[in-house]
Amino acid sequence: MIEPLQAKGESGIDYTGKKIGMWIFLFTELLFFGGMFLLYSIFRAQYPSEFHISAREENLVLGTINTFALLTSSLFIALSIAAIRRGNKKQSLWLQGLTILCGIIFLVIKYFEWSEKIAKGIYPDSPVLLGMGSGETLFFGLYYMMTGIHGLHVLIGILVIAVMLHFTRQDTITSQNYVKLENTGLYWHFVDIVWIYLFPLFYLIT
């Protein structure tokens, strides 16, 4: 008989260990985006007036709605974790569904924002953009890269939450064992926080 080597919780899962793993993963994500924020700050310092002018192209209304959608989704996922902890499975399922809905709203709005710009001929390597000058090229290059990679994270988040929804329905995630959902929540909050920085950098500072 093999003795248990590590002290574990009632469910046999090293709860803290899983959360440490997730936090470390978020550190790597932070540095992944950090590289992009570094590029942004250097190019902004290099081309302040071009960045200033380019930022006026952004649709402030849509950006604000998106910020609102994402912040609300973070609230929903936090509440869904609270619900499952209390053992309220049905409520948690609803809240996870609402989180996904907010994420989808975010992506749909992003789609329209991108389409609007592409219709104007502003996209990487486009003749219009190259004709606008270096600072503008870099601004919109950064815009597409940073919101694009962020959007990819939102998409991945939506898929992961969908899997969690499935797990919750199947009682893999329960009031005793909800570390998967909690880690998903951490990831979702991270995606939210990145947007909280992207929003002022591209929309508000003009």
């Binding site: 093999i2 470390i24 790597t28 992944f32 590029l39 081309y47 390597d125 890269m145």
Partner: protein, 534 residues
Amino acid sequence: MNEIEEKSFYQAMGRYRGILGWLISTDHKKIGIMYLGALLCFFSVGVTLGILIRLSLIAPGMFLSAQHYNQLFTVHGIVMIFLFIIPGIPVAFGNFLLPLMIGAKDVAFPRLNRFTWWLYLAGAFIVLLALATGGGPPDTGWTFYAPYSIESKTNVSLAVFGVFVLGFSSIFTGLNFVTTIHRMRAPGMEWFRMPLFVWTLYATGWVQILATPVLAITLLFIVLGRFIGIGFFDPTRGGDPILYEHLFWIYSHPAVYIMVLPAMGIISEIVPVFARKRIFGYHAIALSALAIASVGYLVWGHHMFTSGMSDTARVIFSFITFLVAVPSGVKIFNWVSTLYKGSIEVAAPLLFALSFIFLFSIGGLTGLIIGSLAPSLHLHGTYFIVAHFHYVMFGGAGFSFFAGLHYWFPKMFGKMYSEKWAKRGWFFLFVGFNVLYFSMFILGYEGMPRRYFEPPPQYHGWSVISTIGSWLLATGILIILSNLVRALFKGEKASANPWGGRTLEWTVSSPPPRENFIHGPVIATDPYGFEGKK
């Protein structure tokens, strides 16, 4: 030693047999062995390419065109750096030994561990695919410097993407190890009772976690620069190639510590065992690993002293470079002090370890020469850099890899190799290494430029000597590897603890059972208490 005879992990069967049973295994030991096999294959490829480079340098144009030469040294770099030495010690020895050394059954996330192995395979496959498809092997040098990497007609995109995938393998390995060390230590295994190899894996893990993502994003922008014209590093679009160098070295300098920190850990294990003496300054060695990892994060600028940087920045980077040499020096002094008045047994692992100390000292001290601003201007574009780099990487990490391979071979495979042939192999490797690379110090000091296809004629003499060194070195590697392969099939059975080591991996049978420990170990002492033993 366990009296109960238990099946080794090699015999433990999962759902599948044969290769599939290995590939889908989550056993950290099997994953470590598979990594080791792959690493040695890629190492052999890298060595072969290196020998061809040396051969071409004494007879330029005889059998390689200039373009092929550029591709050859690029692929040599990519294979050696990204497929051998960065994953290197952590994935092979770390995977196999970390849980054993801290008294755990496995790593914290066994399935994630298997996933890193698959990612490694995928990345390696993509890199190899890049050699055969598109415009052929990349010719940019392993650093992929922009803007050339954006313009080159060779298959840079795919190779860079392969490195991107390998980066994620590295990140998840680091994440897994750090979590394992935090959460899986056996009862009584306090932080300062951990073997020093574990300490260095811990420091390495953090570097992998915090540095690799920066490389990932940078490489992504190279690929996107080639495909959709994202001009962040392209001066014609307002971008800045120097910025690429900064971002690249923000990762790639700490990556040097990913390679050499675990190497130092191996030396810290081997020296006390073969000196039969408690390691000198345990705390200093453990903490200096963390110091190297953290200070090493801030020295990347010294790769760019000649690229264009303000004088203030250069002075600061030079100063921090000198600073990071201090903890490395601390370790050297500790190893030497451990040997002092020890009862030294000069076995093959110790020979490799002592060579490490000698070669790494040369590599480290020459690093200070090029870390100073004035000499760097003279030496930066020369073979001095190539020599320094190989002294730290091959003389350091490479020799340590072989030291670890000989030290833990009986544990990993349950067989003993021929000590006599191991020493002969070491001799050729050590002599060949110094002939090969020390000549490069002289060539570099005299001003022979690096990366040149056809060196100016006045450097021919030392070039020939260096090339002869490469043959000696290859002979050494051949002897070492054949000796080990022979031992796999014909070696005597190894006992649980052939060297008299005091760390936990030596308390289980060789090779270890599937679940590592039959009874969970409880640790009451530090790992280097040799007093009164054998």
